[in-house]
Symmetry: C2
Subunit: 171 residues, 2 copies
DNA sequence: CCGTTATGTCAGTTTTGTTGACACATTAAT
DNA sequence: ATTAATGTGTCAACAAAACTGACATAACGG
């Protein structure tokens, strides 16, 4: 069977290629997206795990430990090592919850905020450039595809209800 | 300053929110995309690193070790451990290059092809569902944004020159 | 022949994740 | 009021997947 005739009788051929390109787009983009903060992280002797924690605490001030765990999808023992470091070194503060005093609500200190801005700066710039090149319509398409790939539960974080929408819920 | 007036005088506010949403879209989507193959991988006592190697060898049959390294962006020592396992267990074959006999050209065995299909099946299904929900226009937007985020060098892998376009170059 | 390239390997280390067990304080339920 | 469940933390051992640095071999290219 020649290539062309296969494509005629098998409409799934192009689709398969399209899906594989999707897999690779995701791989290459994520690979380079994570890479841009590495140099800065190394200067603080931190890794990508620290960045993720700092980022999501910055994004969800007052988040509980368990909510942070369900975002990161790692074990509390894994989180503990990284979070403990960040607390000890004064980047993150823990306050006992008011309604539920078992909770340890996490917020960034001034120092933590400063580090967060430094760390995320290049990632933001990378996305900004990609958005600019691609155009507003493409960004909306990107949004839709990404939302379709994530766990249904997390999609509501991105509901289009204004800039405060994200912050209504912590996890 | 009230929220609304801030948004009026500071056009960067929404942009900042949009960029942060972009960061998170990428995080959540990639988190769940990688997760779907884990159960299958565990059955073979393999990890995500094995999957990446199998995937890219499947996608670029006859790829050289150094080209594979520049896709994965890891060290040869890291690759060696994972690749060695896959070769020893009969999933990947190494053939000496013909024009350049220093090269070890990598291809999947039958067994390797079978495993690759099993492993990638769920990821393909996840992307297919996301593409279906989002629609063809959104997929094109997704494509553009992702390409803008990756290293310029890798963008040519996705040039729209038919289904063979990807395979013309290995790395 | 000699410098460079492609690959592999030995040895040690780091980061980031895992399981399992247990402790403590607090909240919720019976 | 006692008991069960929840939120958090911690100790210990382990595993996956990355890293650095050094060195070795074979083959290519001028």
């Amino acid at each position: 069977m020649a290539d062309i005739s296969t494509r005629k009788v098998n409409p799934l051929f192009l689709r398969e290629e399209e899906l594989r390109q999707g897999i690779e787009l995701l791989f290459y983009a994520y690979r380079d997206f994570t890479e841009v903060a590495d140099q800065m992280l190394a200067q603080y002797n931190f890794g990508r795990a620290h960045h993720r924690v700092i980022y999501f605490v910055s994004r969800n001030p007052g988040i509980t430990v368990s909510d942070l765990l369900s975002i990161l999808k790692i074990t509390k023992q894994s989180l503990s090592r990284v979070l403990g470091q960040l607390v000890r070194e004064g980047f993150i503060e823990q306050k006992t919850g008011v309604q539920d005093r078992r909770q340890r609500l996490l917020t960034l200190t001034e120092k933590g905020e400063a580090l967060e801005r430094e760390l995320t700066e290049k990632q933001r710039a990378l996305i900004a450039a990609a958005y600019r090149e691609a155009g507003a319509e493409s960004v909306e398409g990107f949004r839709k595809v990404m939302m379709g790939m994530m766990e249904e539960k997390d999609r509501k974080r991105f509901e289009d209800d204004g800039p405060g929408g994200q912050r209504r819920r912590a996890g």
